[in-house]
Symmetry: C2
Subunit: 278 residues, 2 copies
């Protein structure tokens, strides 16, 4: 991918345009490395450095108190959601970052609207919140399985955009990443989970059923990416066949976003000047 903006990779292809115009998932190569420097060890070291920077930024983010950060990770099985969280936020104090992984809804959750449980887990002021999967599962699983029709799906896109606008307009920075791996890469990673008993806990036979619906899921992803990439909560597709590159790209984008907020510690209290503790 062409480099511009002082050597920073352009996001042209990876940030989904608002309204989705001209966007197609097939144009996004899961093997691409737009943020890579061609040196895996160098890239890994860079991720570690960025993780430390993000921790330092979280400290002032908390003290600043004007913002909330919601990082949302979507992707098919084995796309690397857990690994991303570990790598990008490994240096961040648990005081300042929380994660929530979304599973199938409980009976109580199902008896409410599908955003009810999500809204309860949005970040508070000064906090980073990572959603491992998200409300976007509600426009994936039911769509692919035909539980909701086109009209209901469009209604949900609108609900989601409205909900994210509320978050944005009340101080939340929403970053949405779709971890994009290839069919072949998934094959290898699933096989690894089967062959290595220490990884069995991450595998279920149902994963193979979902894999059979690969095309349908890719289509449902493309549709939601086009419908829900907004000015206030844009989607970024992250080529994720390379774990190191995936971590590097997300860590870079999170760090850049935090720096752009021009965070600051609250103004000095003049009463503290020269105050001596007795």
């Amino acid at each position: 991918m062409a480099k511009k903006n002082n050597g920073k990779p352009s996001l042209d292809r990876w940030q989904v345009p608002v309204g989705g115009k001209g966007f197609a998932l097939k144009d996004c190569d899961p093997g691409a490395k737009p943020y890579g420097n061609g040196d895996k060890n160098g890239d890994k070291a860079r991720v570690a450095e960025l993780a430390r920077e993000i921790d330092a930024l979280q400290d002032v983010f908390y003290a600043d108190g004007r913002f909330k950060l919601l990082v949302l990770l979507q992707g098919t099985d084995t796309a690397g959601k857990d690994g991303t969280i570990r790598a990008v936020f490994k240096e961040t104090s648990p005081l300042g970052v929380r994660t929530h992984g979304w599973k199938a809804p409980s009976t109580l959750e199902r008896s409410h609207d599908y955003l009810w449980r999500i809204h309860q887990q949005v970040p508070a002021a000064g906090e980073f919140m990572i959603h491992n999967r998200s409300h976007y599962e509600d426009v994936l699983v039911p769509v692919v399985n035909g539980w909701i029709d086109r009209k209901q799906t469009a209604q949900r896109y609108a609900h989601i955009n409205d909900f994210e606008r509320l978050l944005c307009e009340t101080g939340t920075v929403v970053m949405k990443f779709m971890l994009h791996i290839s069919f072949e890469e998934q094959r290898g990673r699933l096989q690894e989970r089967i062959d290595d008993t220490a990884k069995h806990w991450k595998f279920s036979l149902g994963d193979l059923e979902v894999r059979k619906q690969w095309k349908e899921y890719q289509q449902a992803y493309e549709n939601l990416l086009r419908a829900t990439s907004t000015d206030w909560a844009p989607w970024t597709v992250v080529p994720a066949d390379s774990k190191t590159h995936r971590n590097l790209m997300i860590a870079t984008l999170v760090r850049d976003k935090l720096k752009a907020l021009k965070l600051r510690y609250p103004p000095d209290d003049p009463q503290l000047k020269g105050l001596v503790v007795q």
Copy 2:
């Protein structure tokens, strides 16, 4: 008010039109009794009868499970929110109805968007939920006190309409009642709370400060009523100088709404036919 629709009072003046066109609070007489029959004791007996009907409807509402009911009561101090709940839902089993009274937000609540705490308290399937005050306080108190400007207020109206549409499109019937009393009626009721020591707990000196802003609050009410009366969650102004009439009107509207849902017990399970417990 003119009677039509088979003797039922028309809602022309009391239901706020979508978009608020032509609506003014000054046209709503707090002393009117559009649902009254001119006989206070008869009206009281009717309220008691309606409360029993509402309880019976809650039973099938719960079994039916397709809907949720959110009844939202707004009104100035002494407008009769508590009294309405007691009268209209006194026969309803606490299994099927919950109430939540909204006070000033806590530190944790304030560190989230203002709809965060509200969304947590919406009804589950089969449930009645009564909100004693509501998210509309967030377009009253901050507006009257100048904490948010016109643009932020308009933004909040949009958030609220979007939020209520989500609820409606996921099965919630939203009924919004503004209990409308006169300045003079409030004077009498506040005086009663001062004169009767058993009512002191309901009174705070701050109520008199809020009373001084009567006009500003009436204006903020008129604005929000016009901006947030929607097809999916319309506002009804309830003339409330008469407590009996207020109860009668709300009980009638709630009962009518429930009946219009054509609630039904789930279809018979043929396996149960003739089954004998051993």
